[in-house]
């Protein structure tokens, strides 16, 4: 099997080592004998959403997020179609804010892609920023999700949460504020995600046991 991952805005949105998610995906997909291609794409690079099996996007500073948004707006319909076709998007950190209706910073409303109905608000007082270790229940797997959050935005969403009270999951769109990176810190979730990704493409593909020895030791300790 061949798989193409589009790593969007790798040079703008990698504030918290989000690239670790790409490393984990590549490692564990190759373990499953999958031929993985990673497209490093940014502003001004032409994007062909019909050619990707997974789109990944990470977290950035407020300014970089807006630079990415301007470019991403050119692909709104492509992204909509991509999600409707049950293709995968993983958006970690503040980048998943871009797929909602708007981001309001004090009185300034920034229109985002408007693919989902959620929106984000913040008044940008440092003391109100969400900075914490997390431990979320996750109904998709029987292990809790660990990692960090560090962002100013408060999510208002009626969509299904990805984790307990956190993030967004709709079809195969996975959006979460959890950094750490998410797939590196959470081997069970990584296994689940990889299985879903592969079976979405070929439901009969046989998944073999991967090497998660260190991942599990790090998770437990």
């Amino acid at each position: 099997m061949k798989m193409t991952i589009a790593y969007l805005y790798h040079d703008l949105l990698n504030l918290y080592g989000d690239v670790g998610n790409i490393m984990a995906l590549k490692y564990h997909l190759e373990e499953q004998k999958i031929d993985v291609t990673i497209k490093y794409l940014s502003v001004n690079d032409k994007k062909y959403f019909n050619k990707y099996d997974l789109v990944y996007i990470g977290s950035g500073t407020d300014k970089n997020l807006l630079i990415a948004l301007e470019d991403l707006k050119n692909y709104k319909n492509d992204i909509k179609k991509y999600i409707d076709n049950n293709k995968f998007i993983l958006a970690t950190g503040n980048s998943f804010e871009l797929f909602g209706k708007y981001i309001r910073i004090k009185s300034n409303v920034i229109k985002t892609l408007n693919i989902f109905n959620y929106f984000v608000e913040y008044d940008y007082d440092l003391k109100d920023r969400i900075v914490k270790d997390v431990n979320y229940k996750c109904n998709l797997i029987n292990k809790n999700i660990i990692g960090f959050e560090n962002h100013p935005g408060y999510l208002n969403s009626k969509e299904e949460h990805l984790f307990e009270d956190e993030g967004v999951k709709k079809k195969n769109f996975y959006g979460s504020y959890v950094i750490g990176p998410l797939l590196v810190r959470n081997p069970e979730f990584c296994k689940y995600f990889i299985k879903e990704l592969i079976h979405n493409k070929d439901s009969k593909y046989k998944i073999i046991d991967g090497n998660y020895k260190l991942d599990e030791l790090a998770y437990k300790n």
Partner: protein, 437 residues
């Protein structure tokens, strides 16, 4: 009158706490409390102090303490008196304590210069009262994210503390620090380092913070990188670029262990870790602007002494141990230590005791010259996992919680030992390998 009382009380408290410390009744330093009491007595104290002719503030993420100490040293070597950070504290009340300690009872500072290392987020709280003649901004890196969120936030916080009558001294190699020029109406002097044997043109290394133009948001074109997004850049859209560098390290000679400034002045160095070189060029810039005689600056910088805290080479029984002290939760210092380590092709063993590993370029350790990697500390498994995803063979990893048996752990490893450690592991590591304790 309030001023007199507040200085009197402040001075008394400084002495009193020192006395209590001497007799081991209390443990903490007197750096903050006297200043806070004095400020309660005279809230306007910072406006009523008579300052010396020249005041220099140093701020930024990394190296501001070392730079402050080095500027102070050059000034002292040249016969001046200096008021500087009292016991290393760098916030507002500590600033007041420092002033009280060096002032006469009527609030006149008795020294020639104030050289103050100020916390990057608290700068604005001090410059509200006192505008330094010179403000040095070392660098703004990904530093302690739970506290500082991001370099962009720190940049904006520093910006709030800058006034137009300040003369800024900034690094031209960093597109972010250079961009204070877009907001600052006053004077700016730039320093930098030119292309050298450590420079690279590799774009993707995951640690580049500022690849887009601060002026117009277009992608910058880099001729080379020193580290991260620090190097020689140009925006093809608006023309923003590294330029007007008044103080430039034009050559680094690792055989002679010297650097050359502006193609003429040679200075001895004890290591070529980039942050150290940036500190030296910063100090040179400040002292030259203060019109200290050039030869005397060089003399003073040649005799800095070896700062074993940041970097030390120790040879025990024919094996070389290099300790590289990193600032906790600062991936720029981790990256420079990794870069330094990767410059040698000799066989080596690495010891890692770090706590924020997801954002640094450990791929540099994925090299055949690396024999074993010892992953230590409470994050030992996270470090090991990062090595795995950097493509390093798991058989090369030795995972240990503490450094108690490090001598033993190193027995079956080969080559020079590079210990890349957070500051609190440095002394325990040195003690263990020397077998002192």
């Amino acid at each position: 009158m309030r001023l007199y009382i507040s200085i009197f009380v402040g001075k008394f408290l400084i002495k009193f706490i020192e006395l209590l410390r001497k007799f081991k009744i209390i443990k903490y330093n007197a750096s903050v409390f006297p200043g806070s009491v004095a400020k309660k007595i005279c809230p306007d104290i910072l406006n009523n102090i008579t300052y010396p002719k020249t005041t220099i503030f140093v701020t930024g993420s990394t190296g501001k303490g070392s730079t402050t100490k080095m500027i102070t040293k050059v000034l002292l070597d040249n016969g001046y008196t200096v008021t500087t950070n009292y016991k290393g504290s760098n916030l507002v009340n500590a600033f007041i304590t420092m002033l009280i300690n060096d002032s006469s009872i009527n609030g006149k500072i008795k020294t020639d210069y104030i050289v103050y290392e100020v916390d990057e987020r608290y700068l604005k709280l001090i410059t509200k009262y006192i505008k330094p003649d010179y403000l040095v901004i070392n660098n703004i890196t990904r530093d302690q994210p739970p506290r500082n969120t991001s370099f962009e936030f720190v940049f904006n916080e520093i910006k709030k503390g800058i006034y137009k009558n300040m003369h800024l001294i900034v690094n031209a190699d960093d597109p972010l620090t250079k961009s204070f020029e877009l907001y600052h109406k006053g004077k700016i002097t730039y320093y930098g380092i030119e292309k050298n044997f450590m420079s690279t043109d590799k774009e993707i290394d995951y640690t580049k913070d500022n690849l887009y133009c601060p002026n117009c948001n277009s992608k910058l074109k880099f001729n080379y990188y020193h580290y991260g997004s620090v190097g020689d850049y140009k925006c093809n859209n608006c023309g923003y670029k590294r330029e007007n560098v008044s103080y430039d390290i034009t050559n680094i000679d690792k055989k002679k262990m010297t650097i050359t400034i502006n193609n003429k002045d040679e200075i001895n160095i004890t290591n070529y870790i980039l942050f150290n070189l940036y500190n030296i060029i910063t100090v040179y810039s400040v002292c030259d602007l203060l019109k200290i005689d050039g030869n005397k600056i060089i003399d003073s910088l040649n005799n800095l002494g070896i700062d074993n805290k940041i970097y030390e080479e120790i040879i025990i029984k024919d094996r070389k141990y290099i300790t590289l002290n990193c600032k906790a939760e600062n991936n720029a210092t981790y990256n420079l230590a990794l870069l330094y380590t990767s410059l040698s092709n000799e066989k080596k063993t690495i010891v890692l005791g770090l706590n924020e590993i997801s954002r640094s370029s450990f791929e540099l350790l994925n090299d055949k010259s690396v024999d074993k990697i010892i992953c230590a500390g409470p994050y030992k498994y996270d470090i090991a996992l990062r090595m795995k995803y950097a493509g390093i063979d798991e058989k090369k990893l030795i995972i240990k919680y503490n450094l108690d048996n490090i001598k033993n752990d190193l027995k079956n490893t080969k080559g020079d030992v590079y210990a890349i450690l957070n500051f609190d592991y440095i002394e325990p590591f040195k003690n263990k390998i020397r077998g002192d304790k």
